[in-house]
């Protein structure tokens, strides 16, 4: 057994495909990004090395800072609005039982299986000033309903709303699964002790959901940082750079502004921010875990 299980050749053959994929699709592009990040390459023709000039420029680039600020806003929106709502709805849903429970669970998740392309264009129409759903709703309630949702001041909120709306089902589902895993005996004991629903939720559900909440919060921050598709189709960062997100910005810089080198420099910083955010959040949430290797979940 021992001999069979430490056969180097067999081990090599088993991990080789995974390693090749990792090297070719993840590590190689990162190295290439680091390389081009030091150049003034436009995307075609010749280029020269300019040292850390791109990074120096990045520090003073307002659009870049706006994009980080927007990610922060989105993360706050996820954690402050989407998650509390998702957690409460999950707790209510858990008590419902029967056909209705399955029905609502199914309905809440449907937006998540629809392509971002459809979602983005659909919301473009919903925000449409001429025949959009949102202005029509305002008209039904007696308002004027002629708001231009993608104006300078409102665009970012319009974008945030779509993202919070679209991701709601995921958050709900994860909380719901977590709540289902709580031992019903605890609820029975609480009921015998005369606890009401609010007390039960605050004293039993919430504390026991702590690890799930931590995983969800980590994922919310990371996905807020990584946001691209919806913004790309909805506003493409505009008007101005008011709805810019980092991934969208680096893409624009490389392929629209023909600053491929600069785009890659942003990419390098972007990867570092994502790595640091992940590590930081895991460290913050780690303190009560016994095994420090728990990083990648296992909640």
């Amino acid at each position: 057994m021992k001999k069979l299980y430490s056969n180097k050749l067999v081990i090599f053959s088993l991990v080789l495909p995974g390693i090749i994929v990792f090297l070719f699709a993840i590590l190689a592009p990162i190295c290439l990004s680091v390389y081009y990040g030091f150049t003034d390459y436009s995307g075609m023709g010749s280029y020269s090395f300019i040292g850390i000039e791109n990074y120096r420029q990045l520090v003073h680039d307002d659009a870049f800072w706006t994009s980080l600020k927007n990610s922060l806003l989105l993360a706050i929106g996820f954690i402050g609005i989407q998650h509390p709502l998702a957690l409460i709805v999950a707790a209510v849903l858990d008590k419902l039982g029967g056909k209705a429970e399955g029905f609502f669970r199914c309905v809440y998740f449907i937006p998540n299986v629809i392509s971002v392309a459809v979602i983005a264009y659909l919301w473009k129409f919903i925000y449409n000033p001429d025949f959009g759903l949102l202005n029509n709703i305002i008209k039904v309630f007696g308002g004027k309903g002629d708001i231009n949702w993608f104006s300078n001041e409102t665009a970012i909120w319009a974008v945030l709303f779509v993202l919070i709306w679209h991701g709601f089902g995921w958050g709900m589902l994860i909380y719901y699964t977590g709540i289902k895993n709580i031992d019903p005996v605890l609820y029975e004991a609480a009921a015998i002790d005369g606890a009401n629903q609010r007390q039960t939720f605050l004293k039993i559900t919430l504390p026991l959901m702590k690890p799930v909440i931590q995983v969800n919060v980590t994922m919310a921050v990371i996905s807020a940082l990584k946001q691209m598709e919806t913004v790309y189709l909805l506003t493409n960062g505009g008007p101005g750079n008011s709805t810019q997100f980092t991934a969208n910005y680096l893409y624009q810089q490389a392929f629209k502004a023909f600053k491929y080198g600069y785009g890659n420099a942003i990419g390098v910083i972007f990867i570092m921010i994502c790595l640091l955010a992940t590590i930081f959040l895991n460290k913050v949430f780690e303190e009560r875990d016994i095994n420090p290797r728990r990083i990648k979940g296992a909640a």
Binding site: I19, K95, V107, V113, A117, N196, Y232, A247, L275
Partner: protein, 281 residues
Amino acid sequence: MEFAGKKKNKITKPLLWFVLIAVAVIQIFPLVWLVDFSLASSTEMFTNGLLVIPEKIQWGNYAKAFVDGNFLLYLKNSILINGLAVLLVILVSIMAAFACRRMRWKLSGFVKTLLLMGMMIPIHATLLPNYKIYSQLGLTDTIWALLIPYVAFSLPQGLFLMTSFMESIPVELEEAAVMDGCGIYRIIFQIITPMLKSSIATVAIMTFLNNWNEFMMASTYLSSGKWKTLPFSVLEFTGEYSSNYAVQFAVMALTAAPAVIVYIILNKHITKGAAMGAVKG
């Protein structure tokens, strides 16, 4: 839980129902609106009400969307590329998980961590360099330009799920197989794999959900229509029919339909699988 609800919740119960229904309406009404408008004519859209009742149901919108949106070709591409990606992710992650979890070698922990690192790397940061790499190698506009990144970015999650499920399989089974003269490959594919059924389903669902709706890489690495996937029906159409709104609504509804229908049919399994994947991963 029932008796917690019975005691004094004459008022809270309707309130809870109200919350559930309100959230459901917010989540689903935009889609109802989408389907409604897709069956109307463009001129009927300028209404002051929320929904229109079309004078004549315009099935023609869907016919246009179906033909001019290249629906069948793009659907076929989506199914083929996603199917292959799922198969590859499962195969590669089972092999790597077995090697890292069960076999004895010094670097097993290091290699596992390395492969899991992919989870933290933002996909979109690789768009620029990968475009360069693929065009140098002549891979742009081929199926590989999608297959490679799709597998690469779903692999870490697959590997993570497979290793954590593999821990629950007793080693004794393998010991017995070794006694009977089984080789490693047979152990993996004939003994371990069948026992991983539920985790394979989870990985398949997660990989599918991740990649089915992806279009950023597709629109960067592809130029012709040959391998374009379903989201392109929408992306290309809006330019072509920019003034015919009703047909645009039809193409959006049509593009969303396959995933929604499959989801409603398999809803229980998908919810379970996705939840397992999300909570574990």
